[in-house]
């Protein structure tokens, strides 16, 4: 019988060159769910936002490790992006559109808003000094004819 779940993990350095690597790796992993081009673009943007946050804010542009774990179950894709950086003091404030702690770097403050807009679910777990974990979920193939959305 064909297995319905699949999992992958990657660990990489928090240099900005790896932002592109991370989103392409996740995009490539999700192709087994037979996504539309738009769904791939949505996931790439969301992953790019989460990884960029880890690079700039979590690790303050120092080089440490970023961890990504992806799980597929049925039509669902779950992505976890984790850093062991400085953490977020006020998560609610950080998730406000246009809020940024680094305006001098031209950050738009739209990172979490984009993750929320492009994924179906978003949860952020963080505390100062203990790093940040972003969990995102997206159901793939929702808009396609002949697909039944699994009821959870």
């Amino acid at each position: 019988m064909k297995q319905d779940t699949n999992e992958m993990e990657i660990i990489f350095d928090s240099c900005s060159e790896n932002e592109g690597f991370a989103r392409v790796a996740v995009a490539s992993f999700m192709t087994q769910l037979n996504p539309t081009l738009e769904e791939v673009a949505d996931v790439k943007t969301a992953v790019s936002e989460a990884v960029t946050n880890a690079v700039i804010h979590g690790y303050n542009q120092e080089i440490h490790k970023i961890y990504i774990r992806c799980v597929t179950a049925g039509h669902a894709l779950e992505i976890e992006v984790r850093d062991e950086g400085k953490g977020i003091e006020n998560i609610e404030e950080a998730m406000q559109p246009m809020f940024t702690t680094r305006p001098e770097l031209d950050r738009s403050g739209m990172g979490f808003a984009f993750m929320e807009a492009f994924m179906d679910e978003l949860a952020v777990e963080s505390s100062p000094g203990c790093g940040t974990t972003v969990r995102m979920k997206k159901i793939i193939g929702k808009g396609r004819d002949g697909w039944i959305i699994p009821q959870s």
């Binding site: 900005s16 060159e17 932002e19 592109g20 989103r23 738009e38 673009a41 790439k44 943007t45 790019s48 936002e49 960029t52 690079v55 700039i56 559109p97 246009m98 770097l105 031209d106 950050r107 738009s108 403050g109 739209m110 990172g111 808003a113 984009f114 807009a117």
Partner: protein, 104 residues
């Protein structure tokens, strides 16, 4: 990345993927050009670009803040549908002007 100056107008030909890694260089080079050439208009040319995240929005808004002090403008040209969607979603389309080619 290519930068082109014509009088007081700077055109930036953006890379295929516009993320934080790329915007760092664009930010530095664009500001250098703006100051040296008294640039009033910046055009971000998306002709080759198929990916952008909020870093791209940030670099455009940052140039807008800089130029608006002297009455300048920021334009975005040759956007595909995805890039247009991201620009509109972010709210940046309210102040960044989108250049639409006139169709005959």
């Amino acid at each position: 990345m290519k930068y082109q100056i014509e009088e007081n107008c700077l055109t930036i030909f953006l890379p295929k993927e516009l993320d934080h890694h790329q915007t760092e260089e664009i930010r530095r080079e664009a500001d250098r050009q703006i100051e040296r050439n008294h640039v009033k208009y910046v055009i971000f040319d998306f002709g080759e670009t198929s990916f952008m995240d909020s870093s791209g929005i940030g670099v455009m808004m940052g140039r807008y803040r800089k130029l608006s002090l002297t009455g300048g403008e920021v334009w975005a040209a040759n956007l595909n549908d995805r890039m247009k969607k991201i620009l509109k979603m972010s709210g940046a389309a309210k102040i960044i002007r989108i250049y639409e080619e006139e169709r005959q």
